[in-house]
Symmetry: C2
Subunit: 338 residues, 2 copies
DNA sequence: CCCCACAATGAGAGCGCTCACAAAAGCCTA
DNA sequence: TAGGCTTTTGTGAGCGCTCTCATTGTGGGG
């Protein structure tokens, strides 16, 4: 019983065939006698043989590795997307290397990309990255199948997005439908595509209803929600409803409202975006726009795999978000009854 | 200008040296004339050469890859730990492959472990996994440096834990110090080491103070917090304080309290565990026990790297959590003033 | 001025696998 | 039974690197 790991020749010897036949079994070659295959498989099991990925990769120059590039902050948010992508990839025999870059400097991005290059990555998925970085990725890894999530559509690569514009419309129209006319929007980071689209959805819905828009630019953080909330609630001219670009902002706004003694939804209706697991348990439970990250992950991996096989058609796919009505929004008239 | 990727021979030709000299530059061999090194480095830069990890791995049987095994549910919680581990590993030239297994079945674990085996992983980090799985990992990957996070200490491998026992003590003593005597504990999953220790801390603190313990077993979810909270608040004999084994449970309890018209902290003091980013913004902001995941990640990677060099001493390291006092707990006497 | 030690570089093999091609084994038809 | 298929299996090369061992250059002591 040797302690050394078995290789393909050991298996071949034990099975009484050539190494090439073993390789064929490994790769599901069609022309193989079933009994030969069985013999080899027995030998494999007996020796606990596992093909050495490095050797395989060296000759095929395929690593079975997918790089997942995320901006640092994003990792806190929809970690569901990572999980979903990872498990989908695994069922297809791929492994995922997640790289989250915290700094905004070009250098740290190039560093991360360089690492992927050395690993001979087969595919790259980017989530919520600025266009410049994606261009660098494409330049540095021309052979990798690229799928871009949550970035401005482009003809240069495949894009998979939540339909944020429609999400913004959904949220805003829900409030308008409840009779609200003074609806304020707290946006996400101004330079990020997702928040731009949500804001645009808001603006279009308001315009269509003949209402005046009022926007405060923010980011994705709870603390900004709190800060802007306090600012809003200190003015004499209160909106009757607020649409926040994500759930975390909403949480901050709820906190600010409680500071000022304002009730949600009686005094102010509030709607968020994302449907994080906690949203249902906010006080009050949060009306929001749900993104299905699990499904997104499945589609993303499917896309990567298909791009691996044939050249990508560089199309953009939109996934539809869904309005989840809970208790943070209410008919404007309800306010008068109170 | 060839489109093909440069290899070590291309660099050698351009620099006018042998391939072996290039290899020496790559590996920082000491006996190298500085000018030779410079020449080679120039050629590397000019050709944008990157060493092929697969080839290197094939001969050294080192992959520069670290596997991170997490139970599926965990990924939603302390994603900070993943991020921290990943970025620490990267600065040391390692890549991290995250695998989160959702199912509890032995088969799906073996599947994940098999994948790591094929990749010739250098090190494995497990987070909050049951002992049986860790034993499987150790058996299947005897050559990988193993570091175990959040599991019962053992002489068989290195363990790095938050000092959950002390955390439980900290939380409970905080409540006792405020004059509470009827303190209830909602625990995490009974079969998980972390929650067992937190519960034990609670029990020890209560016993020392001569108080009667009261425990409800739960899990890590908000919905369980809500459910148990409603159960607690429906009884006639209310506790004056509750210690939840994590922040999510607390959120559920807050919700339950609001349903029943109970105020926190005036009627019930509440303390959580974790200090998730949202905790500060709960209504009321949550008193909790903070775990520093960033620091944990740094220590974990340092440990993995040191185990790679020399045999592990199989020691257990405890990191101290910190009490964060916010507004969900208050002196028991305050209740009477109200 | 020669020899030896040591520094600096080069040459060739081989890691474990897949690829292209070659050979053997069946099978059918004439 | 020979000839020509197709199916099934075997052989040798080579992916890009690091390893071991061999070779060349350099300087100082006898």
């Amino acid at each position: 019983m040797s302690t050394k790991k078995a290789n393909i020749y050991d298996v071949a010897d034990l099975a009484g065939v050539s190494h090439q036949t073993v390789s064929r079994v490994l790769n599901n070659h069609p022309s193989l006698k079933p009994e030969t295959r069985a013999k080899v498989e027995q030998a494999i099991a007996k020796l606990e043989y596992r093909p050495n990925q490095a050797a395989r990769q060296l000759v095929t120059s395929q690593s079975q590795l997918i790089g997942l590039l995320v901006s640092g902050t994003e990792l806190y948010g929809p970690s569901g997307i990572l999980k979903s992508i990872e498990s989908e990839a695994r069922t297809s025999g791929y492994s995922v290397i997640t790289i989250s870059v915290l700094s905004r400097s070009r250098e740290s991005w190039m560093d991360a990309i360089g690492q992927l290059r050395g690993l001979n990555i087969d595919g790259v998925i980017t989530v919520a990255l600025p266009r410049e970085v994606i261009d660098e990725v494409k330049a540095a890894l021309p052979d990798a199948a690229l799928v871009v999530v949550a970035t401005e559509p482009s003809k240069d690569f495949d894009v998979i997005n939540i339909d944020d514009l429609n999400g913004g419309l959904l949220a805003t129209n829900h409030l308008i439908g409840q009779g609200h006319t003074k609806i304020l929007h707290i946006s996400g980071p101004v330079n990020q595509y997702e928040s731009q689209m949500r804001k645009l959805g808001y603006e279009r819905a308001m315009k269509k209803a003949g209402l005046k828009t009022q926007v405060l630019d923010g980011d994705w953080s709870i603390s900004t929600g709190l800060e802007l909330g306090e600012k809003i609630f200190s003015s004499k001219d209160l909106p009757t409803a607020i649409f926040c670009s994500n759930d975390h902002l909403s949480l901050g706004v709820i906190k600010a409202a409680s500071h000022k003694g304002l009730r949600i939804p009686e005094d102010i209706s509030l709607i968020g975006f994302d449907d994080i697991p906690e949203a249902e348990y906010f006080l009050p439970s949060l009306t929001t726009v749900k993104q299905d990250f699990i499904e997104l992950g499945e589609i993303v991996i499917a896309k990567v795999l298909s791009n691996l096989k044939e050249k990508s058609k560089n199309e953009t796919l939109f996934m539809q978000p869904k309005l989840i009505v809970r208790n943070s929004t209410t008919q404007l008239t309800a306010k008068k009854r109170k």
